[in-house]
């Protein structure tokens, strides 16, 4: 196999990897804060907000991501009356589905993190006179973040792999280009290249999260 031929496979795949990485970055950056807001909503003393958030999490975790993707990309425009205003770019619609789906998982991770924090931390902050906001931001969140880092890392790697579901809603990404070359040239090599690229991204993530874990270590 010549170098030129190899590059003719690799370059479109790298192009596709761009979509993969872009989706990953947008989804992770938006779903983590959204997930945290959902956790707060679940813990809210205002019952309707809490129930709404719990229902949302239940639906998002209880139905397949693929179904949600199909719903957002192809289903929304079919809704009566409002459907015609919901014709989104496929990539945008798919990204939205990813953000909402992953925010539900992150919400559950953060909820677990908050439960693990000793109530003595709240009491110590209270007797020192810290406000609720100061307690949350300066005492609770740093500890919650440290505790939840390993499951967040795990979820991030899952997200990288789940981006391949874009294939099903016809948004070109890494796997799509790999499959195209496989069909065109009758070769299995693009699958290996694709696997290599996914592994490379996962490896990068692992390194970053391991670094964060070490840096935030306090035990």
């Amino acid at each position: 196999m010549s170098y030129e031929y190899f590059m003719s496979m690799l370059i479109p795949m790298l192009e596709g990897a761009k979509a993969t990485v872009l989706l990953f970055v947008i989804a992770i950056v938006l779903s983590i804060p959204l997930g945290f807001l959902l956790t707060l909503a679940v813990r809210s003393s205002i019952k309707p907000i809490s129930y709404l958030a719990q229902t949302f999490i239940y639906v998002m975790r209880g139905t397949p991501l693929l179904l949600q993707l199909l719903f957002f990309v192809f289903g929304l425009p079919l809704l009566p009356v409002i459907g015609e205003y919901l014709v989104l770019d496929r990539f945008v619609a798919a990204t939205l589905a990813f953000i909402l789906n992953y925010s539900a998982y992150f919400a559950e991770i953060f909820r677990g993190g908050l439960i693990s924090i000793d109530k003595g931390q709240y009491e110590a902050a209270q007797v020192l006179g810290l406000s609720k906001w100061q307690t949350t931001v300066r005492v609770i969140l740093p500890q919650m973040f440290r505790v939840t880092l390993p499951p967040i890392a795990n979820e991030s790697v899952s997200l990288v792999k789940d981006t391949a579901l874009l294939y099903a809603v016809a948004v070109p990404e890494l796997l799509h280009y790999a499959q195209t070359v496989v069909n065109r040239d009758f070769t299995i090599i693009p699958f290996f290249i694709a696997a290599g690229i996914y592994l490379l991204i996962a490896f990068g993530l692992t390194v970053v999260f391991k670094y964060l874990e070490r840096k935030l270590q306090y035990e």
Partner: protein, 249 residues
């Protein structure tokens, strides 16, 4: 006027009455020891003073201001002001594990009192020297022994310049050797006339350092007085039994 007046304090957890008509006074510079068997309500009573527990009835007056009047709490602004006159040390230390020793001391002065770095920076070092831990200023709490953690917790409470310190079984999580170093710090504070209320099982501390002792059992104050009265020559049978058990442990 007493610094703290507690009148007819009452509290229940569901049908279980944990505080039954508790009344006592604490004067400035008093060191009051509260003793009693587990489940007697002594910790709940102490925690009520700084609003970690809500009482169902009675009054708490701190430095002339009502925190609770006949079971009704004052507004949050005033209760915050009242609580700021008190510091608290917990059985489980409750240091912030993600902050260094020095940061633990400086967090509240910085955030709550909006002090400048020059002010709290000096004070934190001074207080760490006072509890013998200046060399640990930049360590994380996980690197300290239990006794060291508790001394840091005391220094952290002192950073806010409280008029009174509340101790909730400060040595119950420590082995005897570490207990000694914490009691030593508390004794020094007593000698500097810090006002303190100490819930404790350390009878020696109660006898030698406190000037008032309250014995609680079953949510009530059974006996109160000087250490000589309550510990050396108790009148009530329940006090005698408890002391017999504690002193022969």
């Amino acid at each position: 006027m007493s610094f703290i007046e507690v009148r007819n304090l009452q509290k229940s957890f569901g049908p279980l009455e944990v505080l039954k008509d508790i009344s006592f006074d604490v004067q400035k510079n008093d060191v009051m020891a509260i003793i009693g068997p587990s489940g007697s309500g002594k910790s709940t009573m102490l925690r009520s003073l700084i609003k970690l527990e809500q009482v169902g009835g009675g009054s708490i007056i701190v430095d002339g201001d009502y925190l609770v009047k006949d079971g009704i709490y004052t507004n949050p602004t005033d209760s915050k002001m009242i609580n700021s006159k008190m510091g608290m040390v917990f059985q489980q230390f409750n240091l912030f594990p993600h902050l260094t020793v020095k940061q633990n001391l400086e967090l509240a002065p910085k955030l709550v009192k909006k002090e400048k770095t020059e002010d709290y920076g000096h004070r934190s070092i001074e207080l760490l020297e006072k509890v013998g831990l200046a060399s640990k200023a930049n360590e994380l709490p996980s690197r300290l022994s239990g006794g060291q953690k508790q001394r840091v917790a005391i220094a952290r409470a002192l950073m806010m310049n409280p008029d009174i310190l509340l101790f909730d079984e400060p040595t119950s999580a420590l082995d005897p050797q570490l207990t000694k170093e914490v009691l030593e710090v508390m004794k020094n504070l007593a000698e500097e006339h810090m006002t303190m209320i100490v819930v404790t099982h350390e009878m020696e501390f109660a006898s030698n350092v406190a000037n008032h002792v309250i014995f609680m059992d079953d949510g009530k104050i059974v006996e109160a007085g000087t250490p000589d009265e309550v510990i050396k020559s108790p009148k009530e049978l329940r006090t005698k039994r408890f002391l017999n058990y504690e002193l022969n442990k």
